[in-house]
């Protein structure tokens, strides 16, 4: 089991947190700069080792889990400090978390887990010692998640699980799967679903990497680089500049709303639609700017910036599908934010 760090281990982080916002920002920035793990290895195996080493270092120094309780290795920062942390972490260009547990099952365990579950799972998740992956979607249950069919049957002290899950980011490197399975009848929809944690290495669990249309899987990032511009290009670039700024303003507004009222406000629900359309448009525009060179893949010696824009053009097709399609998001916004009536032909929630 991962040791919970003591104050002595993380004196620097504790001191930083005790200062003003500005001092905290500076201390965090200099620690991230001084401890930057260097260039990302190309080989996936080496990259995982490199990333785990970084996460462990971050944890041991007390700079992991800004929103997590100290009892489980986190920093327990107030919300405004969490924003500062995320800004500095992003601009330091250090590796992000491994797997998808941290942002999804982590907070769920913190809120709903038993003390034993918290002690057992949270520190090792935060330190990167265990990698977590989500198992929610199924072939016949995508947008309509309550239609999921994988079953779990209680047998003594255990659950016996049968079924198939898809779209499990990082499942190929995962140690633990957090899943939604059916313990009630099919008709019970969402009420008959149970949240189970499953050992990814257990007998009977088979995980196959899913080759997506990009030919692989990776992370994407967005930034502008100076493109020489004719009037049409300038017009489009100006439009992207406008949209980037609006995203920032919307983010600021959401943060202020949370700080002032404890709620994100209606703008937060539309921001994902805004961002996904933006990233698709941006990548496609970049490919269009490449002209004939936009016809090349990632491995060609002639491909521009190692094909990052062409790859991004393909990768961002998933932006309007994953974690709920844009169509489902619009339905949810219409019904839950605007209060429009539910479709009477739809199954009950």
């Amino acid at each position: 089991m991962t040791e919970v760090i003591t104050d002595a281990d993380a004196a620097g982080a504790r001191a930083a947190a005790a200062g003003t916002d500005d001092e905290f920002r500076k201390a965090l920035r200099s620690w991230l700069t001084d401890n930057h793990p260097g260039k990302r290895p190309k080989d996936p195996g080496e990259r995982q080792v490199w990333q785990k080493a970084w996460l462990a270092k971050l944890y041991d120094a007390g700079f992991a889990g800004p929103s997590w309780p100290r009892a489980y290795g986190g920093m327990d920062l107030p919300f405004a400090r969490q924003i500062i942390y995320q800004e500095e972490y992003a601009s330091a260009r250090v590796p992000g978390p491994l797997g998808t547990g941290l942002g999804i099952v982590g907070p769920t365990l913190i809120t709903y887990g038993t003390d034993e579950q918290k002690r057992r799972f949270l520190p090792s998740m935060l330190r990167g010692d265990t990698v977590w992956a989500q198992g929610f979607s199924e072939p016949e249950a995508g947008s309509d998640l309550p239609a999921l069919r994988a079953t779990a049957r209680r047998d003594g002290d255990e659950y016996v699980v049968n079924g198939q899950k898809v779209w499990n980011t990082s499942a190929d490197i995962a140690d633990i799967l957090f899943t939604l399975v059916r313990t009630g009848s099919r008709e019970s929809r969402a009420r008959g679903i149970t949240y189970l944690l499953i050992d990814a290495h257990a007998p009977g669990v088979t995980i196959r990497p899913l080759r997506d249309l990009t030919g692989g899987a990776d992370f994407s990032e967005i930034f502008f680089e100076g493109a020489t511009a004719d009037p049409l290009v300038r017009d489009r670039l100006a439009d992207f500049e406008i949209r980037v700024r609006i995203m920032r303003y919307q983010g600021m507004r959401t943060i202020e709303s949370i700080l002032a009222k404890g709620e994100p406000g209606p703008g937060a629900s539309t921001s994902r639609l805004f961002i996904t359309a933006f990233e698709q448009d941006l990548h496609e525009f970049a490919v269009d700017l490449l002209g004939s060179y936009g016809t090349l893949g990632r491995t060609d010696v002639h491909s521009v910036e190692r094909g990052r824009w062409v790859w991004g053009f393909l990768r961002t097709r998933a932006s309007t599908i994953g974690t709920g399609t844009s169509e489902i998001q619009r339905n949810t916004i219409a019904e839950q934010v605007l209060g429009l009536p539910y479709d009477p032909a739809m199954p009950p929630r």
Binding site: E140, G142, G291, L296, I321, G322, P347
Partner: protein, 378 residues
């Protein structure tokens, strides 16, 4: 006008569609795209000999059947529908049309009968490293050596099926404007290297020419006018292929929307999906009309200046519209399929890659729109 298909053209369409449905299912396309040559030589010969597709639009005096661009459009639409990986577009729509446009009887007699029989593959190398399809941007050079033979130097990019072509028609700059030159794929000083193309179903190559011996094609003097016309013909032919691909995307999306059940009903019953499909149909039907009209212009034997300008405008608008419509249809097909549409196993991505790549060959939509603006005096 010829803006609807004749009975004979419909028969041709049904023949090619049935043939490809049987011979070129998705599994075969995926096998060929990963093979060394990138296509199936057996199928290639069947298309040439049994169906006579290669000679279909070549003049009778060169071993062809004497049909024109409308028939070629019918054939390419079906090939586009199947994403058939084969050097048909490069050989017939690009190289053979360029040879014909050159008016060089000797060169036509030398190459076209072999093309009609399926014995010879060919392509045209236009773009230099600068990636521009503007003829004025070409920098590769052609010079006469001491014996009076032409020698080519330079690098050509995005040469469609350039690695496997027997004959490569190279556009190069002479002291007297542009010239078109035929190069044997086995010549000394000629190297073709396969590029990692985004679209796995259509091969692209880089061609390096180092003092490479070549035969001039076409009359002395600037070749730009006939090259421009040949590229416009190829652009319209490509648009026909794009329409076929877009139609396949729509058909696939509609079929899936009818059977994919979420929330206890087919997703096609949701307006969000219906509207997407209706918009795709609108664009595809419009694209079809534009392609048929553009192709019909080439069968009327008017080669006066107004007719040529009308065809040039048409070629540019057809390219801009069909490119955009295809890419849109390919993206919507993935979106309507949801997660399964993002997998490697589903063909949706092959259509997106073909669509985006086709959009960028021969000049992207923005360049085509700029050309229209210039031609109509906006």
């Amino acid at each position: 006008m010829g803006i609807t298909l004749t009975d004979a053209q419909e028969e041709l369409r049904d023949l090619v569609r049935g043939f490809l449905a049987e011979k070129a299912p998705s599994e075969a396309v995926r096998r060929w795209m990963d093979s060394d040559d990138g296509y199936d030589p057996d199928l290639w010969h069947q298309m040439a000999r049994q169906l006579g597709l290669h000679g279909l639009v070549l003049p009778e005096q060169y071993g062809g059947a004497g049909y024109g661009l409308p028939e070629l459009a019918v054939v390419l639409e079906e090939m586009g529908r199947r994403l058939l990986p084969a050097p048909f577009f490069a050989t017939i729509a690009l190289a053979a049309q360029t040879l014909l446009a050159s008016g060089d009887d000797q060169a036509c007699r030398r190459y076209l009968p072999g093309i009609a029989e399926g014995e010879l593959t060919a392509t045209v190398a236009v773009c230099d490293v600068n990636g521009s399809w503007e003829l004025s941007d070409i920098t590769a050079t052609a010079q006469r050596d001491g014996d009076g033979d032409w020698r080519l130097s330079g690098t050509k990019m995005f040469v469609i099926d350039g690695e496997t072509a027997d004959v490569i028609l190279v556009v190069a700059r002479t002291g007297d404007g542009l010239g078109l030159f035929a190069v044997d794929g086995n010549s000394a000083g000629f190297t073709a290297t396969r590029l990692d193309a985004l679209d796995p179903t259509r091969r692209l190559a880089r061609v390096d020419l180092q003092d490479c011996q070549a035969e001039r094609v076409g009359p002395a003097g600037d070749a730009a006018p006939f090259l421009r016309k040949a590229l416009d013909m190829a652009t319209v032919a490509l648009a026909a292929e794009q329409v076929g691909g877009a139609q396949a995307c729509l058909d696939d999306a509609v079929a899936y929307a009818k059977v994919r059940v979420q929330f206890n009903r087919p997703i096609g019953s949701f307006q969000a999906i219906k509207h997407k499909c209706a918009d795709m149909l609108l664009e595809i039907e419009s694209a079809k009309a534009a392609v048929l009209y553009a192709a019909s212009l080439t069968t009327e034997a008017a080669d006066d200046a107004p007719a040529e300008e009308e065809f040039a405008i048409c070629a540019a608008l057809v390219s801009a519209y069909c490119s955009t419509a295809y890419t849109h249809a390919a993206k919507e097909n993935i979106q309507i399929h949801g997660g399964i549409g993002f997998t490697w196993e589903h063909d949706a991505h092959l259509y997106l890659k073909r669509a985006k790549t086709s959009e960028l060959l021969f000049g992207a939509p923005a360049a085509q729109r700029a050309r229209i603006a210039e031609l109509v005096g906006i």
